[in-house]
Symmetry: C4
């Protein structure tokens, strides 16, 4: 009976995107709750709404904290059903350090800490947004998400080099711009840390227009930095693009390499197969 | 006679890009009418033009509504010529829910509703711009358009994950920025919904310069969001790029995929060849 | 003698990037002249420079016009040396309509027209910048340039569809924004043509910050348009990326398909070769 | 003894990312020193920090100059251990002109020159940021960095053509914009060199919002330039993307390129295999 209950709970709270009606309803409730939590947080910052519905927000928040806490404990209790986390103690600890379990814990723990310490923790509700990623556990998205993560992982060195190059360029460009524009605009380019704000907004082509060079030399440097900013977009984009193409090719190759007519792998040399 | 007339009408109003002179003239008239409809709408908003040519615009609009209505009814009438929509009732209903037929209906229906309800519907003319996509039905573009749509369809999960990640990042960044800048700039960063405007314009590197952080911490967060904005461009671009490359390779492969062991095309089903 | 002179002239003025010393010197002179022409035009617009060196600019311009005219006539005279343009009349006419010859003509003709009509034609000097493309006729760049042009040509339908989609989106977004913001900002969003300026600067993420929505609904639409703007970058980039990858693969395939050991094409089925 | 000391020094100062503890500690010290040098330079420009810690900065700078000088001399002394630079004189000279050795020299030489000439050389510290690239000598990053550089090298002509096209477009767009906007905004568009600032910030979509066209014709040209700006991003990105894909394919191919007819690797030269 206890066993059955645990397996049934596991089916409902853990598995996602299955045909089980209970699991689907549970998922919908949790996702709706996350959505309304965030919506509440967002709307609460609008003065008119906060004054009008003050009590409602507070009550909703306490309710959802309770629901998330119960949900987390249920997950923790029944995770031993999975063969990966079978051990009552070590299995549960290992489950606790999986990324999704950490995200679930972050959705509740800070609020208890805040209550204990008497601090306002309302703004931490944003962290619950991460729980939305749970939706990608469903079959259809699971493979795509893993594929994206594999590409990032496989290209991590090239992406890291891109990032480092950008940071070094940013530093050099900002130092030079500081030297050039410092005298002409002492407020906007008052120090190198302040000039970094110009540098990053130019390199990423964001540029709000609050700081910009006005001297001819400063504009010349600004133009060069703008063009280098294109490289900042081109490098990671092209690295990732080739990563995705490779991902497809490696997968495609291992899949389709069998000739459906003779059942042999088309990548093994013809003489090796004829020798059989 | 009735049959011949229907097939002839079908040839003129439905098929695009054929050698039939009637079909070509008809297409040109409809496309010109759409173009001038939109041009009229655009010019009508310029005060000097509206005052001068007021009557002309009104007359042109009524004429084109009549033409589009007749055209829609003709299409509806003769669509049963196509084997796909042969049934007089269900065939026509199925035709009505095809994307191009819906676009054609949108080009006329709202105006009758507006007249019936006594509302001004002039601005809905913009919706007619969608009818321009009809031009891509012509042979040359048809394959390219389908190829683009296939890539979007094949990559829909990865693109959806990209979009969700962006929205979650946007929400978290805007909430944090609200906390940081709220006290320094209560007007610009008055609430999280208001801060979302900053968030989206920074992540997409649009940034008009109407709202931007001024505190050091806010600028630090702004810099990080700007750099993440690059990822926002890099991710969909690289996903689509690999999608287009795959599209080409799959097509290319099916052209000359001969197994070197048995000499048969590996893409034709095994049972079909064994039946030979 | 005349023949020899013509062939010699042809070698000097037409062929680029060869080992011939005469040809190299000639190319350097012409390219330098183009460069200094453009530099002169640019500097002439700076008031202090124009007042100081007024006579110099005028003299330099007349000299270079003479040089370019003589050069064009020399090219026209000796182009019949090439087998493609052998016929004294038709060959020369066919040479005149090649892209590079048109660019050369544009570098001189407007100035004579301007002198004849008594108009100032100085600003047309910019058109001479196109002549810089001549530098890519040299061997090393020739293949790359052709490769880029081939990719654009092969993907022309997909790129055209991208452009049309952007223009239709731009029109619809601007019309909607006009309706939304017109009453709030009658100056900036005074008419749809004026709103197109907002639309294009948002879709391309340029956005100077001179016009932007201020109403909540306008900002919501602005956010959506900003995100669609990402697609505007992603679509042509990914189409071109797959185009360049295809270019490489098609070339690579036709090149390397011969096994250096047995001299057979590795793409022809093994049994076909064993039957020989 | 002298030999042993030299080889030991070489192991510590030259090799990177090995298991040798001495080498690791040395690398960490040098990288930390570079990091703090740059941090000091950046913080020194903040007025409050400079006044407070004036002596500290000066002392730290002199210390690190001494350390870097000793390190450079050590490297120069022991580089003859490597078989590439074995000769006591020519080997050392050849080592001095390697990119990393030049970067190391730039980190110290200008400061001695500045002291000799009595000039302030503090801002040159930024140049030390380049020394961070040393971190990529470590095994994991080495292959990725080389791969990126190979792609840039293989695509150098196509990238150069992209850059030239951009510069020519920039010049033509700015000249036209100068003609159009000069009368309406004589301050912002006062000369072509000044208008180039508008041109580059629009083409790269940076656009601070300090200069923008206000005439209808100027806005029309601005819109076209904005759309061309997309091409400026698309072209290098797609060229690099195909470059990275090629890189992967060439590498992948050399791994399992067996001819199905004779079973030999198609990438080993034919004469080498026939000699077997």
């Amino acid at each position: 009976m206890y066993r059955y209950l645990k397996r049934r709970t596991f089916e409902i709270v853990e598995t996602t995107g299955t045909d089980s009606l209970g699991s689907r309803i549970f998922d919908s409730i949790i996702l709706s709750l996350i959505f309304f939590n965030i919506l509440a947080l967002v709307l609460e910052t609008v003065d008119e709404v906060r004054i009008e519905f003050s009590g409602l927000f507070s009550g909703f928040e306490q309710t959802s904290l309770t629901v998330f806490t119960i949900e987390y404990l249920l997950r923790l209790w029944c995770c031993t059903t999975s063969p990966h986390y079978r051990h009552p103690v070590w299995g549960r600890l290992r489950w606790m350090v999986t990324p999704l379990a950490i995200v679930d814990l972050i959705a509740v723990l800070p609020f208890y800490l805040a209550i204990a310490l008497g601090l306002p923790a309302r703004s931490l509700i944003t962290l619950r947004a991460f729980r939305f990623f749970r939706v990608f556990k469903a079959g259809r998205y699971f493979e795509s998400l893993h594929s994206i993560l594999r590409v990032f992982y496989r290209k991590r060195e090239a992406l890291y080099i891109s990032l480092m190059t950008v940071l070094i360029l940013l530093l050099i460009a900002s130092s030079l711009m500081y030297l050039i524009e410092h005298n002409a605009q002492p407020e906007a380019f008052g120090s190198i840390p302040a000039t970094l704000w110009w540098g990053i907004s130019t390199l990423t082509t964001v540029s709000y227009g609050d700081v910009y060079p006005i001297t001819p030399l400063g504009r010349f440097l600004g133009g060069i930095v703008s063009i280098l900013g294109i490289g900042l977009f081109a490098l990671p984009t092209s690295i990732l693009a080739s990563g995705f193409t490779e991902e497809f090719e490696l997968e495609h190759e291992s899949q389709d390499a069998i000739c459906p007519h003779c059942g042999k792998n088309i990548h093994t040399p013809a003489d090796r197969t004829s020798a059989e």
